[in-house]
């Protein structure tokens, strides 16, 4: 047991150091692939052993591990402070200094250092470990060929890949530590490690814009760190324990404690890039694609929603809970609206991530077993589909040199494999019977008792359809007969295929995932499973029957479509003035006039520049409302 835990948390850190100090590409590839494989096996083995009670870690080289974490905490704050000085950013310096002072006071004066078991593995932790270890590893593997090509484009004299993989792997270890922590100080430590890693990775390319965006990410997350420390102190002042399991078991303990939890949620909001903190995640897309994939799908932002979800039992039934739900729902609809106006593929993915995280947080706020099930399901399936889509955009970008969806029109003609996987990825984000939609269905059914939330979810759900459907449609095209087959590196193809299959197969297995991993979380599980269908008192989702009907239907449709060479292929209708060459018609003076069609981005309604300040102001008001509601 404890060996597995050490492996999951410390192996990535050790592998990270190997990547940094051994500057050989072969060793690096081997280390990353081996680490990925071991993490995957270890996370599955941990799942196989089942949940475990809080567990003490003991000492390390004769130093108590709690003391070690404290030392590292201050070292980390020191490093962040130094970067604040280097980039002359007063916000970073201020937030970090405040954290250090408060933390020192907390550690030295307030806390009575009783032994607190450091790690715990409940259902939620184990699921998170799986998401981090498996999806994170696949992204790291994808990064090997990607970064090679990336650096060839940049013509670097000295490879910066050792530094890149140092932070990429360290990130995985920190995330595993974060989701397994039982001591709130440990949780805080890992929370800060992810802040530092993301700062380093966003700024990796060291261009002006990368540095600027990484600094913004750092100050926003330092604010989150400060909120975390404040929240931790407020909670401790009432409960007098650092033991998260004990805090959760006790439930809400009056205004002061719930306000503390409110601050912890605020920390989660910054990390999950909820409005008004969305700008750091949008800025993060300047980093190489594997970083975006890692930040958006399995790590950084999931750390934020994890914190909100983790403490859900501690604010159940309070006004804070409603506040969290409304804030989450607002982010869901606002980011879906902002997404409509985007043609940049990575930006669409970024806004869609923030939007989905809003939905997860909203579910945590609704705080019923049904809603919590929806949140956890969404974490799992969003992580798979979103990482897949990011890797697809990365692959497309390296192939066509653009990440604009207008430039991806007809991608199937040249890159059939990538285009097909991307289309499948989009469908798994959007349609039944796939997991993301199923979670959304649960969320809507769970939110039906709250009018503010349900109206926002209904609007957000419609907006979501628009931006996905038009992207999927524009990728489709005909392949000329005898066109050259598409080439894909093996280490690119493997993660894409695995994630694509995972998104489909795991969706189909969702009733069993629910039964084995989610149902034990609750005293009164929301669903019963019969004939592969999830049944609740309020409604049922026939997962397997739908998969069979729609799956067979889709297979038949694919078969019908694959016989298209026998069907007469004609040029599109152009009022009878077609010309031989495609995309032109006979215009005035018998000239050949080219035409093109683009998507509607509804600039007058959904302009990013116009909406963002309004949404930010509204979101700040809602957050104030939420925190005030706790009092």
């Amino acid at each position: 047991m404890s060996n597995l835990l050490f492996l999951l948390i410390l192996l990535p850190a050790v592998a990270a150091l190997v990547c940094y100090f051994v500057r050989s590409s072969a060793v690096r590839t081997l280390t990353v692939v081996a680490t990925g494989a071991i993490l995957t096996i270890a996370s599955l083995a941990l799942l196989g052993q089942g949940t475990f009670e809080p567990l003490a870690v003991g000492s390390f080289l004769g130093i108590s591990s709690d003391f070690l974490v404290t030392i590292l905490d201050f070292a980390l704050l020191g490093v962040i402070f130094a970067y604040g000085i280097k980039h002359k950013n007063l916000l970073i310096q201020g937030f970090t200094l405040a954290q250090a002072v408060l933390l020192a006071w907390f550690e030295l004066v307030v806390v009575e250092h009783a032994a607190v078991p450091a790690l715990v593995g409940d259902q939620l932790s184990l699921i998170m470990v799986l998401v981090v270890s498996i999806i994170g590893s696949l992204i790291c593997i994808f990064a090997i060929p990607y970064m090679k090509e990336h650096e060839e484009h940049l013509h670097l004299k000295k490879s910066r890949q050792p530094r890149f993989f140092l932070f990429l792997l360290l990130f995985l270890g920190a995330m595993n530590g974060l989701v397994l922590s039982n001591n709130i100080l440990w949780l805080y430590f890992f929370f800060e490690v992810t802040t530092l890693c993301s700062f380093m990775l966003i700024g990796h390319d060291a261009t002006e814009i990368a540095t600027k965006n990484s600094v913004r990410a750092l100050w926003m997350n330092s604010l989150g760190g400060l909120a975390f420390v404040v929240g931790m102190m407020l909670v401790y002042s009432k409960t007098a324990t650092l033991d998260i399991s004990a805090i959760l078991a006790a439930g809400p303990q009056g205004a002061l404690m719930v306000t503390g939890i409110g601050f912890l949620c605020l920390a989660g909001f910054t990390k999950a890039a909820q409005i008004p903190f969305q700008s750091w995640l949008l800025g993060a897309m300047v980093a190489p694609t594997p970083v975006s994939a890692l930040l958006h799908s399995s790590t950084m932002v999931k750390a934020g929603v994890y914190v909100v979800l983790r403490f859900a039992p501690a604010y159940v039934g309070t006004l804070l809970s409603d506040g969290v739900a409304v804030c989450g729902a607002f982010t869901f609809v606002a980011c879906a609206a902002l997404c409509i106006g985007q043609s940049n593929g990575k930006k669409i993915l970024a806004y869609s991530t923030v939007s989905n995280l809003g939905l997860i947080i909203c579910c945590a706020g609704i705080n019923t077993p049904l809603a919590i099930t929806a949140a956890v399901m969404l974490i799992i399936f969003h992580a798979i589909s979103k990482s897949l889509l990011f890797l697809c955009v990365g692959t497309i970008e390296q192939a066509i040199g653009s990440r604009d969806i207008e430039d991806m029109r007809g991608l199937y003609a040249k890159y059939p494999r990538t285009a097909t996987i991307t289309i499948i990825g989009i469908l798994t984000m959007l349609l039944p019977p796939f997991g993301v939609l199923m979670s959304k269905w649960m969320a809507i059914e769970a939110a039906s008792s709250n009018i503010y939330v349900i109206v926002m979810l209904a609007m957000g759900s419609a907006l979501t359809v628009v931006y996905w459907a038009r992207w999927g449609g524009s990728l489709m095209a005909t392949r000329a007969e005898g066109a050259v087959p598409e080439k894909q590196a093996a280490l690119i193809r493997m993660p894409l295929t695995v994630l694509c299959l995972g998104a489909v197969v795991l969706s189909m297995a969702s009733p069993w995932i629910y039964n084995s991993m989610l149902a034990p979380m609750f005293n009164a599980p929301p669903f019963t499973v019969s004939l592969g269908s999830l049944d609740a008192a309020t409604g049922s989702f026939a997962v397997v029957p739908l998969f069979i009907v729609l799956g067979l239907g889709a297979l038949y449709a694919v078969k019908a479509a694959s016989g298209f060479r026998k069907v007469k292929i004609v040029a599109p209708y152009l009022s009878g003035s077609n010309v031989g060459e495609e995309g032109t018609y006979i215009g005035p003076m018998n000239g050949h006039v080219p035409f093109a069609a683009g998507n509607m981005y509804l600039g007058e309604l959904f302009a990013e520049g116009k909406l963002t300040p309004i949404f930010n102001a509204l979101a700040v008001a809602l957050i104030v409302l939420m925190l005030g509601g706790a009092l």
Binding site: G410, L431, P432, L437, W441, I444, E445, S448, I451, I454, V455, L457, A458, M459, S461, A462, L463, V465, V466, W468, A469, R470, G472, G473, S474, M476, A477, T478, A537, T538, G539, S540, F541, A542, L546, V549, L550, G553, A554, Y556, A557, A560, A561, F564, K566, V567, K568, I569, V570, A571, P572, Y573, L574, S575, E582, G583, F595, A597, N599, M600
Partner: protein, 282 residues
């Protein structure tokens, strides 16, 4: 077993009913315009003829999309007859709607591209209203499943009058009737040609026509839920609703999608929210 029989009845009767309604629609429209109009069975003759035409496509995705549209529409009607979950039925129906749009976008044709974009605007307009209608039904019956509706002893209409109006709004858009027919028009000789349908032809257009029949039946089925306690009144409600649809269709000119979005999001959503507040309070 009983469910299975119901599903099969739905799958068979769906297109038959839908086709008949399409025929009736044209007859009544002709009557409004003092014309004789085609035979009631004309819709079936048209589709039979389309199936006999040569297969022509711009690319293979259209074949795929036409089939998936048809299958998803049929599946949603099947699920409706299986007394399934309303939200789920709606989401399955959305599979078809999305594939219709994607198929139109796969062709490099200005008309079908514009039609596809406008169809997305239509989805954007009706989807939130429909979800709120289902939430209203949930608040009355305590469940999203259709089964619970049959156990009411008072028609839904009594509790959800405004939501029924909003539903009517949404359904006119869903069936692409005037003034909301801007993703495809009934007549080809207009600025839009046939919009989202322009590039579908022959047997594939026939599939889409059948899918549309299924959708009509689904839509009328939703309306029928509002008077679940009495079959006669249910028939009256359906007849009145559809007649009103035809009347509106014939007396309105096509509007723009901006007009629609503003109208529906303000008026339709407004009515829904007011009605929901009554239900929450009640």
């Amino acid at each position: 077993m009983e469910t299975l029989i119901l599903v099969i009845i739905g799958l068979v009767a769906g297109p038959l009913l839908g086709g008949l309604i399409a025929g009736l629609d044209r007859r009544v429209t002709a009557w409004f315009q003092s014309r004789q109009g085609p035979p009631i069975m004309q819709a079936f003759y048209d589709v039979a003829k389309l199936f006999g035409k040569e297969k022509m496509v711009v690319n293979q995705w259209q074949i795929l999309c036409a089939w998936v549209y048809m299958i998803a529409a049929a599946a949603s009607v099947g699920l409706f007859f299986a007394q399934g979950d309303l939200l789920l039925i709606f989401f399955v129906q959305a599979v078809g709607a999305v594939f219709l749009v994607m198929g139109a976008m796969s062709a490099k044709s200005p008309y079908s591209q514009v039609g596809a974009q406008r169809e997305l605007m239509q989805i954007l307009a009706y989807e939130p209203v429909l979800i709120l209608v289902f939430v209203g039904i949930y608040l009355v019956t305590g469940s999203f499943s259709i089964e619970a509706v049959w156990q009411l002893d008072q028609p839904l209409l009594a509790k959800m009058p405004l939501l029924y109006l909003a539903l009517g709004y949404a359904l006119t858009i869903k069936l692409r009737k005037s003034p909301f027919d801007f993703s495809t028009s009934h007549h080809g000789h207009q600025e839009l040609v046939k919009g989202v349908l322009t590039e579908y032809s022959g047997p594939y257009l026939a599939l889409i026509e059948i899918a549309h029949w299924y959708e009509t039946v689904l839509v009328l089925g939703l309306c029928a839920l509002f008077w679940s306690t009495n079959v006669a009144y249910m028939a009256v409600l359906l007849l009145a609703t559809y007649m009103l649809e035809i009347l509106v269709d014939n007396t309105m000119a096509r509007m723009t999608w901006r007009w629609m979005l503003k109208r529906v999001w303000l008026l339709g959503m407004g009515m829904s929210v007011v009605n929901l507040i009554w239900l929450y309070a009640g």
